[in-house]
C-alpha cells in the first residue's frame, strides 16, 4: 500500500477533493484553516492524507507544523499539490518548495469552473512542461476531472518521477552547487534531497540545523562568507533572498502559463459586508436572522407539536401496558425514563437542523473571514484576535468543532484564551434547557432568548478584559488572513455538514441520553437497599443531596437540580432529560421560581461544557494545569454570575 499526501494553500479545496476521492464527509468550510488535523482515507486502495493548508514549508501555527513534519519525515509516495487555479502565482510559490523534496509530485488545478468567471485561461500543457510534474484540472466541488485524476495518480505512483527543482539566479546557484558537493552532505537524514538541504543551510533554517550534526569549521566559514556576499549583493538576509527567488520562479511560470482575458467586474458583496458603515449592523443582522429562523420560527412551530406527540405516545404506552398487565417498572422505564428523557431532547431536532444548515451556509460562502476582518479591532481590545470570532460563531452550533477551529490562531495566548471563552457561547445542546425553562416560567417573553446570548458574549468580554489587564507584556501579534473569494455554497458540502451534525445530535439522544435516562430513572426509583421508593428517598436523591447545598445560595439547592447538572457533564441535553425524569416538565414550578430559574440557566450557560468539549479543550490547551484553570474559571464565573442574576431578579421583582 502506498501513501498519498494532499497538500496546498489553505482554502484551496483539499478537503472537498479528499471527500470526493474517498467518498467521506469531512468538515469543509470557506475560510483559510478549516482542516486542523490530518485525516486519512482510501483511494484506489492507497492511503490518502488530507493535511492542513500551508502557504510555505516554514510554518507558523501548530496545524501548519503538522503538515511540514508529515511531508518531511513520512516520505509520502506521492504529493498532490492542490492549487487554487484562480490564485496560480501564490500557489506556485509553495510548489517551488514541494518540488525540491524529491518526491513524485502531481499538480491539481482546482476550481477550474471558476476560471471562466474570473476571466483567466491557463495553459495546462505548458504548466506541466515548466514544472516537470503532471497537471490535472478538476473542480472538486462539481466533481469534474476526478476520473482523469485517479488515473494520473496511478501513473505517478508507478513512474515515481520527481518534478523539476526551481532554479534560482546564478549568484545564488553557485553557492548551492558548492554545498551540494561538500562532504558534510552525507550527514543528511535518509530521504532528504541534497539540494533542499543546501538551500536550508544557506537560509539557516533552525529546524533543519537542529537535526544535523555540528557544521565543520571549514564549511561554517564558507557559509558565513556566502551569506555575507548574498547580503551585500541583494541588500537583504539569505532567508528573504530565497523567498524572493522562489517567487520570481513562480511569477515566471505563472506569467507564461496564464492569461487574463478580461478584467471582469461584478457586484461585490464586500461593498456592504466589509463596508465601514454597514459591516457591523449586517453582521448582527445575519446572526440575528440565523437564530430567529432556527430557534424562533422553526423551533416555535415544531417544538409544541413534537412535545405533544411524545406525550401522546407515552400515554398510549401506559394505557396499553395497563391493559396487558405489563410489569409497571418496565412501562415506567419506557415512558418516564426513555420517552420523557429522549423525547425532551429529540423535540429540538428540527430547529437544530435549521441552525446547523444556516451555519454551514455561512461557513461555506466565505463570510467567516470577513467577520474576522471587521471584528479584529474589537477582539484585539479583549486580548483576542479577529480569528477568535470564527470559533465563537461556530460555537453557537457546537463547542467541539469551535474549539478545534481556534487552532488557526498563531499566537499561543490568544489561542488559549479563545479556547477558554468559546464554551461561554451557548451551543445547540444547551438550547433545550433554556427553552424548557423559558416556556415554563417566561411564556411570551421573547427578550429572554437574546439575553442568553448577550450574557454569553458578556462573559467573553469580561474574561477577555480581565486577561488583558492581567497580561503584563501587552504584546500584540500579527493578524494576517486571506479573504477568500465568495462562492455559492455547494449543496453537497452544506448537506453533508448539516446531516453529520444533526445525525450526531440524534445519535447522542439514542445513546448517552437514552442510557442516562434509564439509569436516572432506576436510581430515582430505588433506595440503596433496592426497595422501590419515592424519588425523595431514592439513591439519586441521596447522591444529589451531597452536592445540592453548594447550590443553595443560587436558589436551586434541591437534589434534582444538582443531579441534572451532573448528568449535564455527559451531554448538556441530559439536563433536560434528567429534569423531566426526576421533576417532570410540568412540575417545574414546584421547585423553581423565576429568580432561581434564571440563575439555573445562567449557571448552565457559563459553567464547564460537556465532556466532549472538555476533551477538545484539553487537546488544544495541551496541559492539565491550563485545563484545570479553564474549568475552574468557567465554573467559578458561572457560580458568581448565577448568584448575581438571582439577586438582581429578586431585587427588581
Amino acid at each position: 500500500m502506498q501513501t498519498i499526501a494532499l497538500i496546498g494553500n489553505p482554502n484551496s479545496g483539499k478537503t472537498t477533493l479528499f471527500n470526493t476521492l474517498t467518498g467521506t464527509s469531512s468538515y469543509v468550510g470557506n475560510w483559510p484553516g478549516v482542516t486542523v488535523e490530518k485525516k486519512e482515507g482510501l483511494v484506489n486502495g492507497h492511503t490518502i492524507l488530507d493535511l492542513p493548508g500551508i502557504y510555505s514549508l516554514s510554518p507558523y501555527s501548530p496545524e501548519e507544523k503538522l503538515s511540514r513534519r508529515y511531508i518531511l519525515d513520512k516520505h509520502p509516495d506521492l504529493i498532490i499539490d492542490v492549487i487554487d487555479a484562480t490564485n496560480l502565482e501564490r500557489s506556485l510559490y509553495l510548489t517551488t518548495q514541494l518540488a525540491e523534496l524529491g518526491r513524485p509530485l502531481l499538480l491539481v488545478l482546482n476550481m477550474e469552473d471558476l476560471l471562466e468567471r474570473e476571466g483567466i485561461k491557463i495553459d495546462v500543457h505548458r504548466l506541466s512542461q515548466m514544472t516537470g510534474a503532471p497537471v490535472v484540472t478538476i473542480s472538486a466541488s462539481k466533481g469534474t476531472g476526478i476520473v482523469e485524476l485517479k488515473e494520473t495518480i496511478e501513473t505517478c505512483l508507478h513512474e515515481k518521477k520527481s518534478a523539476l527543482c526551481p532554479l534560482f539566479s546564478n549568484f545564488v546557484e553557485r553557492y548551492i552547487n558548492h554545498l551540494i558537493a561538500d562532504d558534510y552532505m552525507h550527514a543528511i537524514p535518509e530521504g532528504r534531497p541534497v539540494r533542499w538541504a543546501a538551500i536550508k543551510l544557506i537560509e539557516e533554517d533552525e529546524l533543519f540545523l537542529s537535526s544535523m550534526p555540528a557544521i565543520p569549521e571549514e564549511l561554517d566559514g564558507y557559509l558565513k562568507n556566502a551569506r555575507e556576499e548574498l547580503i551585500a549583493h541583494y541588500d537583504d538576509d539569505p532567508e528573504a533572498i530565497i523567498i524572493d527567488q522562489r517567487y520570481k520562479v513562480a511569477e515566471a511560470i505563472s506569467k507564461d502559463c496564464q492569461r487574463k482575458i478580461v478584467e471582469k467586474k461584478s457586484f461585490n458583496f464586500d461593498s456592504i459586508a466589509t463596508n465601514r458603515v454597514t459591516a457591523i449592523p449586517l453582521f448582527i443582522l445575519i446572526m440575528g436572522a440565523v437564530f430567529y429562523l432556527s430557534i424562533g420560527l422553526v423551533g416555535g412551530y415544531t417544538t409544541p407539536i413534537l412535545e405533544n406527540a411524545f406525550a401522546f405516545v407515552g400515554e398510549k404506552i401506559y394505557q396499553v401496558a395497563e391493559i396487558y398487565g405489563v410489569f409497571p417498572l418496565l412501562s415506567g422505564i419506557l415512558v418516564d425514563g426513555i420517552i420523557a428523557g429522549v423525547g425532551a431532547v429529540l423535540t429540538f431536532v428540527p430547529q437544530l437542523f435549521v441552525l446547523f444548515l444556516l451555519l454551514s451556509i455561512l461557513e461555506d460562502c466565505g463570510y467567516m473571514a470577513r467577520i474576522a476582518f471587521i471584528m479584529d479591532r474589537m477582539m484585539r481590545s479583549l486580548g483576542l484576535s479577529g480569528k477568535s470570532i470564527i470559533p465563537l460563531v461556530i460555537g453557537t452550533g457546537c463547542s467541539v468543532p469551535a474549539i478545534m477551529s481556534s487552532r488557526t490562531i498563531e499566537h499561543q495566548k490568544q489561542r488559549e484564551l479563545t479556547v477558554i471563552v468559546t464554551p461561554f457561547i451557548p451551543c445547540g445542546a444547551k438550547m433545550p434547557v433554556f427553552a424548557l425553562m423559558m416556556t415554563y416560567f417566561f411564556p411570551g417573553q421573547w427578550y429572554i432568548a437574546p439575553m442568553i446570548y448577550l450574557v454569553g458574549v458578556l462573559a467573553v468580554v469580561i474574561t477577555g478584559l480581565l486577561a488583558r489587564a492581567l497580561d503584563k507584556h501587552k504584546e500584540t501579534n500579527a493578524f494576517i488572513l486571506e479573504l477568500p473569494r465568495y462562492q455559492i455554497p455547494t449543496v453537497r458540502n452544506v448537506w453533508l455538514q448539516t446531516k453529520e451534525r444533526t445525525v450526531g445530535f440524534i445519535q447522542k439522544a439514542g445513546t448517552i441520553i437514552l442510557i442516562s435516562s434509564v439509569i436516572i430513572y432506576l436510581l430515582s426509583s430505588f433506595s440503596f437497599t433496592f426497595k422501590a421508593v419515592d424519588a425523595d428517598a431514592s439513591m439519586l436523591a441521596m447522591l444529589g443531596r451531597l452536592i445540592a447545598p453548594l447550590f443553595a445560595p443560587l436558589g436551586f439547592g434541591f437534589w434534582q437540580a444538582s443531579v441534572a447538572l451532573l448528568t449535564g457533564i455527559a451531554a448538556k441535553e441530559s439536563i433536560v432529560s434528567t429534569l423531566s425524569v426526576t421533576v417532570g416538565t410540568s412540575h417545574l414550578g414546584a421547585f423553581f421560581n423565576p429568580a432561581s430559574a434564571l440563575s439555573y440557566m445562567t449557571f448552565i450557560l457559563l459553567s464547564s461544557p460537556c465532556i466532549a468539549a472538555i476533551s477538545a479543550m484539553a487537546k488544544e490547551l495541551g496541559s492539565r494545569r491550563k485545563l484545570l484553570f479553564a474549568l475552574l474559571w468557567q465554573t467559578g464565573f458561572a457560580y458568581f454570575s448565577a448568584l448575581l442574576v438571582r439577586y438582581l431578579v429578586l431585587l427588581f421583582q
Partner: protein, 74 residues
C-alpha cells in the same frame, strides 16, 4: 522619509521595497507574497479603521496597520 504601506489610503497603489520586521513576521509576510517590487493596492479599511485589506498577487489579504507599517514601499 520612508513610505510604508499603512500610509496608503483606500484605492492607492504602491510597490514593495522591503519588509522590515522581526524574523518570524518577516518570513510570514514574504511567504504571503510581499517581495521586492511586487505591486499592491489598498482595497479597504475595516469598520474601525484597522485592519486593512490589500490586493496582492491577484488575491486579497487583510493585515493590521502594525504589520503594514513594517512594509516599506518604493
Amino acid at each position: 522619509m520612508q513610505m510604508t504601506m499603512d500610509e496608503l489610503t483606500v484605492g492607492q497603489k504602491g510597490a514593495v521595497k522591503a519588509v522590515r520586521a522581526p524574523k518570524q513576521l518577516k518570513r510570514r509576510l514574504m511567504d504571503m507574497g510581499f517581495t521586492k517590487g511586487v505591486p499592491i493596492e489598498v482595497i479597504k479599511l475595516a469598520p474601525m479603521g484597522d485592519p486593512i485589506e490589500v490586493s496582492i498577487r491577484g488575491y486579497h489579504l487583510c493585515l493590521r496597520k502594525a504589520e503594514a507599517r513594517k512594509i516599506e514601499l518604493i
